[in-house]
Amino acid sequence: MASKQAVIQLLLLCGAMGLSSCAGTPPTATLSQADLAVQQASKSKAPEYASLELYMAREQLTSAQEAMKHKEYTQARRLAERALVNAQLAETKAQAEQTRRTAEELRQSIETLRSEAAQQASRRQ
């Protein structure tokens, strides 16, 4: 009798442990946050200037959604966290690149104006 009870207890414990390893609370908030960040980055200049980071974010988000379907919530949360930071990185990198290019254009335009002025001055002399 005593051994039977011990076996049942052990089984229950194993079951609880098994459940806790894959169950837990689904990381819905983290996933939607990552989804939003990927969408936002896709709308920015990221596809043009930070395609690698955006690609990684998308892949990780897809994998996170897959993991959610299989109720692998820990894996899903981790992937969503990675997707979120990669999407943010893609957006910031793209923004920086765009601003850097604007600065470069301004620099060139100033150069053109200056050389035009110099040409006019030399033509008058």
Partner: protein, 211 residues
Amino acid sequence: MDSKGEKAMRRASREYMFLCLTIGTVVGMSLVGMGCSTHVPPVELDQARMAYAQAQADPQVSTRAPVALREAEESVRRAEQTWDKEKDVREVQNLAAVAQQRVELARAAAVQKQAEVDVEQLGAERERVLLEARTREAQRAQEAAERAQREADRAYQQARSATTRTSLLEQELTTVRQEAAAQEQAAREQATKAQAKPSHCKRGTRCHSKK
């Protein structure tokens, strides 16, 4: 003799046992230590720490993106704390990877901020260069206008002096003509007078008969 030998043997065996125990303890402890040493922190954690330290040492990042840098620091710290508490390799690997990307994010934010400052300064410079060009253009136009005005003035003066000379000449001509006319008139009158009363007719009537 016997008891002495027995005593010595007992002592030796006691010493042997002590040695065995010591060795056993050392081996056992080192085994336990080895067991613990499989729980070395993942490489990613060290990489994240180093990446953060490098970014923090970069004055561009620490001055231009302090908020993003602090977020990266928090991210590294969370990975470290999780390692200290849970020793969950996979969880810490993930957290460390996130922390590394947060460091990258701080670097990108610093580049963005620097570019923004550049755009602002270059925009102001462009305005200044444009204004200079416009000022120079206006100056040039004014100079050209002044030159044209001076030329026009000179032409007007020339025209005026020419007109004055012409009118003077005309006056002179009129005077000359009037004088000439007067002289002619006088000469004509004299001639008629001379014809009408010749000098030899003054005394007698024979002149009339000649006519």
